[in-house]
Subunit: 220 residues, 2 copies
């Protein structure tokens, strides 16, 4: 039987990393198992039916997936004043809307990466890539319009902020051309403020883990 | 100002349909705007930054997305005894794990459909299709092992049941070869029980709406 909570996944994944940041924020002790959905796909399929990260293995051996279900569990164990997901409306749905936009942004950036870097040569579809890029640009523009100062929903820090900052760092590290300098100044400030927080610094983006699973920097 | 809650999306989408079924279950009155993320992509991008369905437009004009954030809002307004998402652990995380598996199943089936039916001719990647099919088969097998009798988590109906049944119907309607007769008997019984419920019958899968947005039945 496992004795310790274990987070499965790499710190170049925005989905893994947002869970890690929230766990550090809540002070939840955990170990990590660095597995890749590409290099370790067979093992990932044994840990969870979808073969996706993150998976959280609880101390008793129970396994949870995906990042939203894991975060719901973590929010539920946080003290009421500490929770990164407000209980009261309308703030709750405002935070969840930002979180959904940020998760979607990370997903579309991930899908674009699959298209450009993981598919068989010659099977890229320019029309599909253009569609993903419209979705990415549209969501960046919407998030920028929320004018984080420094946070995205009202005066206090939320899971929407964690997710947006992690998604932005993911894009900046893997596909910097999608975030031209100066194009999204409020988001860049938001990202800088968040990444300086102890919970983010305890779970930094990892270029090393990205490289271990076969990632090579590419253009465009 | 809008006077009525409006659900945006088609009833061939499992993500739209699971929201509709839950609204009917809770007795929430709503209208619908039948838009396609393909045929009406420009309009969809105006309604929400990701250009995805579902979007819920509240009576005051506020827009919510995606299906999980919308469902969180709806669960929060349901009476405690009626909510399809339990408040108590461990049942809450068990339901969310089933829901996440079912959402992932629908996503992987959707992605496989994109690959086979929406991409430019000649840009299909057999390796990627095989990966999606492994994820689909693995998740179907996991759900089957939960042995719904008739429900997936304990004796009572939950959002996990709604999502699994809707995902299964989606696959059966669009890609029946992924659900060979007899291969998943517990899931087929589960789907039959759920689809007979009034909330499901009030928001049936729509082959007509699928066809309107350009869907043509295909093999494999």
């Amino acid at each position: 039987m496992t004795r310790k909570t274990v987070l499965v996944g790499q710190y170049d994944s925005p989905f893994v990393r947002r869970v890690a940041v929230v766990m550090h924020y809540y002070g939840v002790a955990f170990g990590r198992r660095v597995l890749s959905t590409f290099a370790d796909f067979d093992t990932m399929l044994e840990l969870g039916p979808l073969g996706k990260v993150p998976i959280l293995v609880l101390a008793g051996g129970e396994r949870l997936w995906d990042s939203r279900a894991i975060l719901d569990f973590l929010h539920g164990r946080a003290s009421p004043g500490q929770s990164l997901l407000p209980h009261e409306e309308p703030r709750r749905r405002q935070v969840l809307r930002v979180e959904a936009a940020a998760v979607g942004l990370a997903e579309k950036a991930y899908e674009r990466g699959i298209e450009l870097a993981r598919r068989a040569p010659g099977t890229q579809d320019p029309t599909w890539i253009a569609r993903l890029e419209r979705q990415i640009a549209s969501t960046l523009a919407w998030l920028e319009l929320q004018r984080p100062a420094p946070f995205l929903v009202g005066p206090s820090f939320s899971v929407g902020d964690v997710t947006a900052a992690v998604a932005l760092t993911y894009i900046k590290e893997k596909w910097p051309q999608l975030l031209p300098p100066g194009a999204f100044p409020a988001l860049e400030m938001h990202r800088t403020v968040c990444e300086a927080m102890p919970a983010f610094q305890a779970a930094p983006y990892s270029a090393t883990e990205a490289a271990q699973s076969g990632w090579r920097p590419q253009r465009p």
